[in-house]
Amino acid sequence: MRTRLAVAAATFVALMMAAAPTYAQKQGGTLKISHRDNPPSASIHEESTISVNQPFMAVFNNLVLFDPNEKVNSPDHIVPDLAESWAWNDDKTKLTFKLRQGVKWHDGKPFTSADVKCTWDAVMGKGDEKLDIIRKSPRKIWYINLKDVTTNGDNEVTFTLGRPQPSFLSMLAGGYSPVYSCHVPGRDMRSKPIGTGPFKVVEFKRNESIKLVKNPDYWKKGRPYLDAIDWTIVPNRSTRMLGFGAGSYDMTFDSDVTFPLLKDVKAQKPDAVCEARPTNVNSNILVNRDKPPFDNPQIRHAMVLALDNRAFADILSQGNDLDGAVMLPPPAGFWGMPKEMLPSLLGHSPEIEKNRAEARKIMEGLGYGPEKPLKIKVATRNIAIYRDPAVILIDQLKKIYIEGELDPIDTTVWYTKIARKDYQVGMNLTGVGIDDPDVNFYENYYSTSDRNYTSYKNPEVDKLIEQQSAEGDLQKRKKLVWEIEKKLADDAARPILGYNVANTCWTPQLKGLVLQTNSIYNGWRFEDVWLDR
């Protein structure tokens, strides 16, 4: 009897302890966050900036989601969201989702498979123009292999692909892939979107604030914990930091705290929790290979030999930025080539002086020298995070007889200028929405992509991109990815200077926030976040 009682008591205690975390979260409270600028709109599908994803991801649901409790987004950590389950057909060209039943949009209308279909039809540019759900689609290229979306009743939807594509599920799992409703016009989605997510939009006041309030009918019972999220748009960074220090905000905007600023933030708010993480935003050089002088592959090669990526990191982020090739390097990234392989890539060797001597020899062979430097313009967006690396680049190019002049471009016409090929060399930043080779390669290096800004065309690379995309064996695929990374580096397709690392800070009362290390665009659902007040 005594043993039975002891076992029962032990079981009770164990159960209580196991259950404790679920009881620990507190319901209620308003999370206050500073926002760095005016989001161009509230429509995630139409934009390509964290300024939209971070506040508005909480309004929506995806079909599937990268596990919000995992630090690294990876294909083996994808969890159901609006889809309860999914299955591939035998030849891996049809992906069928069983949808959750009883889910409602914020306006009370029921969510059905038709919403999924019209979302991806619109993203692919095949949508009904009368519905006008979205008017621009920056990620159309992601779905180059998607042939059709079909519904089977209200609760089942099938994506038909042209060929097997293991990454397809990952593409649906990121913050850039919310499900939109068919019945809400694009204009409303851009200003006061309707979703199925844990928070509803109360108002989006340009230049002022974004107010979200708990969705009481959220299909995930017990979530979200917070009553509301208030975003205050504060364009001035000093004001944002002072506001955080004074306790006006519970959290800074994502990656808003640079390493030099971190000391000030910690001095003002010693109990702040600050986490540094790679943003999967890389600094890279756009080279206009269609016009002289960079139509000459020797000059492109020499330019890359002049680069010292360590110096960029030391100056820009007190040595915290990461060196990597086209994919974010491990352990933060899932697909990037191992560290020991990196020095074999053009532009990543630690023997800087030797490289530069070789570059000078190439330049001398082409008739350039200290008396007759190659004069170029280095174009970049006229904002500090672009200008600063451009200035360092100009300094490094001097070492090989390339005399660069900074050409700051009004940020609003930057891509138009690049698309017109009206530049020689450009300093650019590229944020990768999902740490996935299909997303990155198709978007930035595939010959027909709108976002392949340099119009880099290499049929061999295109073929390899397609080959890795269809490869089902993870290890084999990783090797193909590394091969592509090497080819792109050797070809000076878009030389990578480093991966940005920055800090996000929050008050110690904020709990349950997991920052993901390989993309800043995911993980902002806020449904598991709570305030310990």
Partner: protein
């Protein structure tokens, strides 16, 4: 007088018409339009999508037709649709005007109540330690940039009081609004007060040497009466002119202050609208500013007459 007023009003209308053409043309001379920018903001350069947006917004219409649509709408009180928010421009502009107007009004009030009396004191106490102090104060007002002063004030508030006096939520009640706007208004007004102080001082010094001041003193008028009734009234003419000009320049000062103190006013909104080439917002706001400047100039001219009875506006 009546004919003068009619002439002035006609001139004001003509000035505003000229301004409307200037604003309209200049905006379109700046590289890039909203379609470029919307597509750029998404990081794509898809010419089809760009053409679609251009057509939807009527930017492919002949420029004369676009101007006609704007002026026609304006005459009916229809300011058009904001390109970025896709809401009626009036709904975007109207709630922001009172915030900036209150801020500008408070800043100007601060500038006058500090600038004029201190200018007078500085003049009547010429070359005393108080005069030196006020001169240094006015010089610092002229040389400290508003954004820097604003940041210093914010830092001091955070360090000493553990709070930050910025605009986070809509104030509840007049008192809270006054509290929120008083510090930024003082920051913006500091520069204007310095200018007014210096001008009042020099103008007073000039007037104080006039014969009629000596006469006033000799007939036994008190120092206060000499300073304020006899000298200041005449010294104020150039000061009023400067106040009028400063009222117009305040808009420039507000842009910085609204940014630093995070005030959702019209000045910061205008800069944002220019960045997005949101023509309906920019055109209408610049026209509003032009209207305010023209009106203030008119009022300043009227004030001359009140201050100096010798000034007459001939019919």
């Amino acid at each position: 007088m009546g004919a003068y007023l009619v002439r002035r009003l006609l001139l004001m209308a003509l000035t505003l018409f000229g301004m409307s053409i200037l604003i309209f043309v200049m905006l379109r001379l700046v590289p890039g339009n909203i379609a470029d920018i919307l597509v750029d903001a998404a990081g794509i350069a898809d010419s089809k999508e760009k053409a679609k947006i251009t057509h939807e917004l009527g930017l492919d219409l002949p420029i004369i037709e676009q101007y006609g649509q704007w002026i026609g709408g304006l005459s009916r009180g229809d300011l058009g649709f904001a390109y970025v928010s896709e809401r009626p421009a009036i709904e975007e502009i109207a709630p922001r005007i009172p915030i900036s107007a209150k801020l500008a009004g408070m800043a100007l009030f601060f500038a006058i109540i500090i600038g004029v009396p201190f200018g007078v004191i500085s003049a009547v106490r010429q070359n005393t330690p108080l005069d030196y102090f006020l001169r240094v104060l006015s010089l610092s007002g002229l040389s400290l940039p508003s954004f820097w002063l604003g940041l210093l004030v914010l830092m001091a508030a955070v360090n000493w009081f553990g709070t930050i006096p910025i605009y986070s939520n809509e104030p509840r009640g007049l008192l809270q609004e006054f509290g929120l706007l008083a510090i930024p208004a003082a920051v913006v007004g500091f520069r204007s007060s310095a200018l007014i102080m210096r001008l009042t001082r020099s103008s007073m010094l000039e007037v104080m040497r006039q014969d009629y001041i000596r006469t006033a003193r000799s007939k036994g008028a008190s120092q206060m009466s000499v300073n304020y009734d006899h000298a200041l009234r005449n010294a104020l003419l150039p000061v009023v002119t400067v106040i009028g000009i400063e009222a117009a320049f305040l808009v420039g000062g507000l842009i910085v202050t609204e940014t630093v103190f995070n005030i959702p006013g019209v000045a910061r909104f205008l800069v944002e609208a220019i960045r997005w080439r949101d023509y309906p917002i920019v055109q209408n706001l610049v026209m509003l500013i032009a209207f305010v400047v023209v009106t203030v100039n008119f009022l300043v001219d009227m004030a001359y007459m009140a201050l100096d009875p010798r000034i007459k506006f001939a019919d």
